[in-house]
Symmetry: C2
Subunit: 98 residues, 2 copies
């Protein structure tokens, strides 16, 4: 698995809108053929902090996500709702073996 943890800090007044934008992105992304996980997490202590857990079967599948209309819509929609630029951290998914 090729995993990216995307860390986002959202301006407090946009939290609800951000969650809705992520719901739409989640629903479309899990239908991509190479997608394995697309989980949206909200920090339990600091509700402004989110993590998008994106897991794809191959590097190519992960790259293809960046060209989808739902990703591009999400990116544009949330751009001004972030406190600072989002941070993506890449991981090799060891287990489960997919």
């Amino acid at each position: 698995m090729h995993v990216t943890l995307v860390h986002v800090i959202v301006k407090a007044e946009y939290i609800d809108k951000f969650i809705e934008a992520c719901r739409l992105n989640h629903q479309a992304s899990i239908q991509e053929s190479g997608n394995f996980r697309f989980d949206i997490l909200q920090n339990a202590e600091t509700p402004q902090k989110f993590v998008l857990y994106e897991s794809y079967k191959s590097v190519e599948d992960a790259a293809a996500h960046k060209n989808t209309s739902h990703y591009l819509n999400w990116r544009e929609t949330v751009a001004n709702w972030m406190v600072e630029p989002r941070q993506g951290v890449r991981y090799q998914g060891l287990f489960p073996r997919v």
Copy 2:
């Protein structure tokens, strides 16, 4: 979902052993009745850094994991292989809704 991201930094000479200990923990944990995800991730840039992505259906399910023999074995096995104490960060899993 009740999610914990456990961040671990492993001494370089114990990376292979740590991965094997996590494989055993993963295999047993995904069979717990309340478990939803138990993914083991290795940082793509810094192989000493790992994340355990642990997702349970309820707080009680997550707490029950801490009493299992496989968790206790893992905790004891890897205790001296870490560069510093591991850090667990708790999240509310928003999507998928489980």
